[in-house]
Amino acid sequence: MEKINNKEAISLVVALCTNVTILLSSQVIINDCSSGSLINSCLISLIAIALTLVICSLYRKFIGLNILDISEYLGGKTLKTIIGIIFIIYFLFTSSILLYRLINCLKIIYYPITNIVYTVLLFIIAVGIICNLGNNAFSKANYIILPLSLLTIILAFIGNAENFDYENVFPIFGNSINHTFITGISNLFTFGGINYLFFLPSKLKNPNKFLRISVLSIVISSIVLLFIVTTILFMFNANLVEGQLFPFYSAVRYIEFGTFFQRLDSAFLLIRIISFISFLSITSNLCLNIFKEIINTSDEKPIIYPFMLLLFSCTLLPETIKALDSFHLQNNIFKFLFFITFALGMLILIFAKFKKNRKESSL
């Protein structure tokens, strides 16, 4: 497998975090913390950076290995399979939740009559083609698309500056100190890209730079989070940030540069779609790699189409099970899966480190 360079690695993690932030977590943070959202975003950013440092320090003993290799070292093939399946479930379900939200938004705005199946299919086929290309086409594509995606976020911030109500940041602690500082920590799921860090070392051309790559990517993701939350918070009253459309898109609808540059939301949505296809290809590729490692096969192409079918089915689940078509339930599933996988990853790293230390001391 072709390895990826440092810049590509950073862009992969940032793309994962950015898409979660725009499509889901920014809305969750503002609903939970109201005017305290900025403080909460700063807090979870600091925690995310601290956790990244912990992961990197634990990985010092396992340079160039991913979490599956470490689980195999710790608990053999069985543990490796269990961990692999749990991570596949995490990436599969979170991707399908986000895809469903984006598709719903597109349906409201552009395709009111088109059956949602066709729109989902469009994304799935695009991702299938990227996965089929192999040779890390997804990371190279993402490396090109990400700057464009970040540029739209910065432009949305600048373009909306004249509409900002800077006083929306008060009362500074939002709904309550408890909401902002304690229960608000659950918003750490914004940094979904942290879970990708468990698989990154084995993909890197230069695994020794893992610490630098990880910290830099989480710092960039934190800045992106602050830009997005600030834009939404300063634009809207906190109790307005609900509904089917993701609030960052609603904010972009207000941008007008004079009377000539208006309706920039269409361009924003186009870039978001491309960026999301890139996001889906990253998660799909990772799931395929995990699956490949679990079943010990050298060629992943035969499993691409079954996996795409699985992603397609998961995305359409809320269409058949209406209970899943709830923002709060989707958000809770996302949080639950994130914390389970993250905790498992950390526990395996900690226990594996103990095992290695014990082995080294016994030698």
Binding site: S35, Y118, T119, F170, P171, N237, Q262
Partner: protein, 468 residues
């Protein structure tokens, strides 16, 4: 060969699936099948539960490749229905094209409807994905349908451009404000502030109105069914209610009566030249344009309660930093012994602090202005040795005049409107740590007793081309 054939056929099948899947949405969004609305007027119908909605369309086929700036006559359609969406639905079948609001520039509510509350209509509009949040919101003193009929500008032929530009005058006059649907809705869901909309009305003295009155008379006398646009809402109501038979019987007198009415109106408006009393529909302007937008409509919750005059609106825009430059005239010996017109520039945002340590919030407002003398009457000479002293006196006079105007306006907000329309609550919130503490403070009631410390610091320079 077989492999490439398989690839080609797969691609073709996928293409066919997508063409089939997306063709329905393409047909809906196809420009040939869409009728774009440029303005939407909403009146209350005779049945209180219904709405009379006027749609203004532009005939896009009238724009040619070579001349996209030529004026086109707008097409007006009116529907009476229970809601805006129902009206759109009904009109779709009448027009034969799908009504699309994505190019709608203004939404006009009639005063009658606004006094009953427009929460449901505004929410309905905000939930329409086609409508931009930057669409302007106007409350008209006349019927919304009459406002749309008369809404045209001789200086700007393209109606959509005119709708784009008319709120811009707020930046250099302060007599109106660029209130959008998004801003209005934001305030509507906010329980701590009042709300504002652009105030519009018919220019009763416009030559269009006079012509249309006479046209109306002549058309009524010649054909009973043809009703033309009328100068005022009142006239239109009398026409519609009276019908052709009653108008025919009044033919001999009506023309002279209208002229007399207009003359009386002109005389009345000639007296009404102070910004403190000018509002849309009662201005001393005579022009080609049939409508005017001066002042703002004040809402408490979703109910229209009162108007801000031109001078009040200037105070509001000054407090909120919306106006860049404006002109005031000082014609009161209390402030200065001679008549002065002063051009003022508002380059620095006002400094606002709110002290909530007691039950009576203390609102401190500090405004810095720079200005120049625009008009001097009474042959004053500023170029003599007393020039410096005199300019200081003028600066002092302007500061005191602005302070008094602002204090009058602010006491109006607490006593008459009884709501915070200048968003002081945003500054008061700074003093609280959590939303719960802020809610417990009960801003809405405390604001009614608020005390205001207004300080205006005007720095006036002469800069007259001819100083004598």
């Amino acid at each position: 060969m077989n492999k490439s054939m398989l690839k080609v056929s797969t691609i073709l099948i996928v293409l066919f699936i997508f063409i089939y899947g997306f063709s329905a949405s393409y047909n809906v969004n196809n420009i040939d099948n869409i009728a774009y609305v440029t303005a939407l007027g909403i009146d209350s119908a005779t049945d209180d539960n219904n709405l009379t909605i006027t749609f203004e369309f532009i005939d896009s086929s009238a724009f040619t490749k070579n001349d996209s700036s030529s004026s086109t006559t707008p097409i007006l359609d009116t529907v009476t229905e229970t809601s805006i969406n129902s009206a759109i639905n009904l009109l779709n079948s009448y027009v034969g094209k799908e009504i699309n609001l994505s190019h709608c520039k203004v939404i006009i509510f009639s005063e009658d409807l606004a006094r009953k509350g427009i929460n449901s209509q505004v929410t309905e509009l905000m939930n329409n994905i086609q409508l931009r949040p930057s669409t302007n919101l106007i409350i008209t003193k006349s019927k919304a349908s009459e406002y749309i009929k008369n809404s045209s500008s001789t200086l700007e032929k393209v109606l959509t451009k005119y709708y784009d530009m008319f709120p811009n005058s707020s930046e250099y006059t302060g007599y109106t404000s660029n209130i959008t649907l998004g801003k209005f809705y934001n305030c509507l869901v906010n329980k701590y502030s009042g709300n504002l909309a652009i105030l519009g009305g018919l220019n009763k003295l416009s030559s269009n109105s006079e012509n249309s009155s006479s046209n109306s008379d002549s058309s009524n006398s010649s054909s009973s069914g043809n009703s033309q646009s009328n100068p005022t809402g009142e006239n239109s109501e009398s026409d519609s209610s009276g019908g052709s038979s009653s108008s025919n019987s009044n033919d001999s007198n009506s023309s002279s009566e209208i002229k007399e009415d207009l003359d009386a109106l002109k005389k009345e408006n000639d007296k009404n030249v102070s910004a403190k009393s000018i509002v849309a529909g009662k201005s001393p302007i005579i022009g080609e344009r049939g409508t005017e937008n001066i002042g703002l409509a004040v809402f408490k919750d979703d109910v229209y309660i009162n108007d801000l005059t031109a001078a009040d609106t200037l105070c509001h825009t000054l407090i909120n930093g919306e106006v860049d430059s404006f002109l005031i005239n000082i014609n009161n010996p209390k402030y200065y012994k001679h008549y002065l017109d002063i051009s003022l520039f508002h380059n620095i945002s006002p400094k606002i602090t709110v002290d909530t340590s007691t039950d009576v919030p203390e609102i401190n407002l500090e405004i810095k202005l720079k200005g120049r003398i625009a008009t001097v009457k009474d042959n004053l000479n500023f170029s003599d040795s007393r020039k410096q002293l005199d300019l200081n006196q003028v600066s002092e006079a302007v500061s005191r005049y602005c302070e008094d105007s602002l204090k009058d306006y602010l006491s109006k907000t607490t006593n008459d409107f009884q709501c915070d329309i200048d968003y002081f609550y945003l500054y008061a919130k700074r003093n609280f740590l959590t939303n719960e503490d802020w809610d417990n403070y009960d801003w809405n009631n405390k604001y009614l007793n608020a005390s205001f410390n207004v300080s205006v610091n005007a720095n006036i320079t002469q800069s007259l081309l001819n100083s004598n």
